[in-house]
């Protein structure tokens, strides 16, 4: 009699082993490059550049030298500051523009709002590679070339369409009755938006902020094309273009620089990935 649950349990364990066995190769493929980067970042040069040893672990003591080099001898600190400033401004601009637009499209029953929403979203799909040459002219026309402010101007073209679409979906989930009740109580449309809809939409707005940040971190083309001076670059462009001098690669500090920005962004994005997928697939799945 006691045998039945036991075999059940064994079956469950066998099923788990089978799944872990099958999924392990995927996990290794996915994270090995990151492990290798991390290892490289902490290795001393004599440990790194040799071929007669097992390379996947330390043979000399780990070192912080590669990290301190970045902050003392390169513009790395400036790039991080630039990136943070760009991200903050892009987030502000995106919110100021996408929140009203998303609300209007979701709630105010504008004729053709559905098509308008789709049109705004489609601009997210117009790739930078088609726009970067004319945008280079626009950027120099407004006098922002060679400064990170150029990116504050152009990144919202990526984030506004996406966040408007995202927030549109979000505002639709706020019960209409709450707003109507507020208007009966004498709020105008603006009052209802500011006092009722926005406070309950904080999670959605926060998500939009995260995307304004992570989507602008995923860019490489605009940063490469519009910002030339070494100390003005965002970190995602500065590291691959400035830390490499001629043909000499300082892999240790390169990997240190890459991981220090890459991992936090990856982890943050990771938590919001489902919302991203929901956003682009139009809410299927939840």
């Amino acid at each position: 009699m006691a045998a039945a649950p036991r075999t059940q349990r064994q079956k469950e364990i066998r099923r788990h082993l089978w799944i872990y066995g099958a999924i392990t190769p995927y996990v290794i493929v996915a994270i090995f490059p990151i492990y290798w980067m991390a290892l490289t970042a902490f290795k001393q040069d004599p440990d790194l550049y040799r071929m007669d040893q097992f390379p996947l672990w330390f043979h000399l003591a780990p070192t912080w030298k590669n990290f301190s080099y970045l902050f003392y001898s390169t513009n790395y600190g400036a790039w991080i500051v630039n990136t943070m400033m760009i991200a903050a401004w892009v987030a502000v601009i995106t919110l100021l523009i996408a929140v009203p637009a998303g609300y209007a499209l979701a709630r105010l029953r504008i004729p053709g709002s559905e098509n308008l929403g789709i049109a705004v979203f489609m601009t997210y799909l117009v790739p930078g590679i088609i726009l970067f040459i004319p945008l280079a002219r626009v950027v120099s026309m407004v006098g922002l070339q060679d400064s990170w402010w150029a990116l504050v101007l152009v990144y919202p073209t990526i984030t506004i369409p996406f966040c408007t679409w995202l927030l549109m979906g979000f505002f639709k989930t706020v019960p209409m009755e709450m707003e109507e009740a507020a208007r009966v109580d004498g709020c105008g449309y603006l009052g209802a938006l500011l006092r009722i809809v926005l406070p309950v939409s904080v999670p959605g707005i926060l998500t939009a902020v995260i995307f304004a940040f992570t989507l602008s971190m995923q860019d490489f083309l605009y940063g490469l094309a519009f910002v030339a001076p070494g100390d003005q670059k965002p970190v995602t462009v500065g590291v691959p273009t400035e830390l490499i001098r001629g043909d000499v690669y300082y892999w240790g500090s390169l990997m240190a620089a890459a991981l220090m920005v890459g991992l936090p962004v990856a982890i943050l994005y990771n938590f919001f990935l489902d919302r991203f997928i929901q956003g682009i697939t139009g809410g299927v799945g939840k």
Binding site: H16, Y20, I23, Y26, V27, V29, A30, I31, P33, I34, M37, M51, P55, L96, I97, P100, A101, A104, L108, I110, E114, N115, G117, V120, M122, L125, P127, I129, I130, L131, I133, P134, A136, V138, P156, T157, I160, T164, G169, Y189, T214, M217, F220, L221, L224, A225, V239, P240, W251, L254, M255, A258, Y269, L273, I277, I280, T281, G282, V284, G285
Partner: protein
């Protein structure tokens, strides 16, 4: 006649007067003071900044790039004159352009096949309930969430001509010899390997995306429907082919379109790994457009090359549009 008919007794006049006065009071309300028009005005006001931003920084540049492509604009010279289809003719007559076009299409197709295979199999695994699933899912999607230029740097180091960890591994299991032997692959230095190396990075970065999109599709299929099909005695593959695939087709299409648009237009991977070399083996349209338009400063030529991506992307976008419009959103 009208005057006499409107005349009546004092008892009858007062309710009619009341009715008239209400009608009169309603008439002066203008269009803008009605509830609907106030709502619409407010709506357009809220929408205007977004529409303006998109028109000014996406719409206008797009039209501007059409103009640039028809002109001899360059970085050095601020005056540009109309040259008709000269830039397109020049592109068609250069060998590099054809190489780039072929590489772009080949890159996208081969990468899509691998992403499809890896993504589907991974999605099936992640669909199973098992302990630690969320954590493992979080690990496998890291390639997609890492900023692109950052991860390409890591790959560049893994493809190092001497200290490549991939070569160490291959050498260890006996596939290739030791460093310096004839078979030692220089990933980014040999034409056929370099393109493969770039494709591998794209596949590595985006297969988690395929998997997650598929997973979202699979979980959107109600289990009742699958159970009903199972009760009817269908096999796993029948259920997959006739129930699951039709149901998740729209989401599948969107994921595929997204990935294709981003792969076709991505500069980062190839630019950082090989800059299009060796001997144009990895030259793709985005890299060519960047090199001609920005590095060589021939804005017109560059814009024309970039615009060649548009006819490749347009059918995808139209498909996407139709897909989105069919959806209740």
């Amino acid at each position: 006649m009208t005057a006499s008919s409107s005349r009546g007794g004092p008892e009858a006049a007062s309710p009619r007067a009341a009715a008239v006065s209400i009608a009169v009071r309603a008439r002066p309300r203008r269009w803008f003071s009605s509830q609907t028009s106030r709502r619409l005005a407010f709506g357009y006001l809220l929408l205007a900044p977004a529409v303006l931003y998109v028109l000014l920084l996406v719409g206008a540049p797009f039209l501007f790039s059409l103009f640039l492509a028809l002109s001899d604009a360059s970085v050095a010279d601020t005056t540009a004159s109309f040259v008709g289809l000269e830039n397109f003719r020049a592109a068609f007559e250069s060998d590099v352009f054809y190489i780039a076009l072929r590489n772009s299409i080949g890159f996208t197709v081969v990468a899509a096949i691998f992403k499809g295979l890896l993504g589907t199999s991974l999605a099936f695994l992640l669909l199973q309930p098992f302990w630690g699933r969320k954590f493992i899912r979080g690990l496998v999607v890291i390639p997609f969430t890492l900023p692109i230029s950052i991860s390409v740097l890591g790959w560049k180091w893994m493809y190092d001509s001497q200290f490549s960890v991939i070569n160490w591994f291959l050498s260890r299991i006996g596939v290739i010899g030791t460093y310096g032997s004839a078979g030692w692959p220089v990933w980014l230095g040999e034409p056929h390997l370099a393109l493969l190396a770039c494709i591998m990075v794209n596949v590595w970065r985006n297969f988690p995306f395929s998997a997650i999109v598929l997973l979202a599709g699979f979980t959107s299929v109600p289990t009742e429907i699958l159970d009903a099909a199972r009760v009817d005695g269908t096999s796993f593959f029948q259920r997959f082919r006739h129930v699951v695939v039709p149901m998740i087709a729209p989401i599948l299409l969107i994921g595929f379109l997204f990935d294709t648009v981003f792969t076709l237009s991505d500069l980062g991977v190839v630019y950082l790994l090989t800059q299009g070399g060796p001997a144009n083996a990895t030259k793709i349209l985005p890299v060519l457009a960047y090199q001609v338009g920005i590095q060589a400063g021939a804005l017109g030529r560059g814009a024309a090359i970039a615009l060649f991506l548009f006819p490749l992307l347009l059918p995808l976008m139209i498909l996407m549009l139709r897909n989105l419009k069919r959806r209740e959103y």
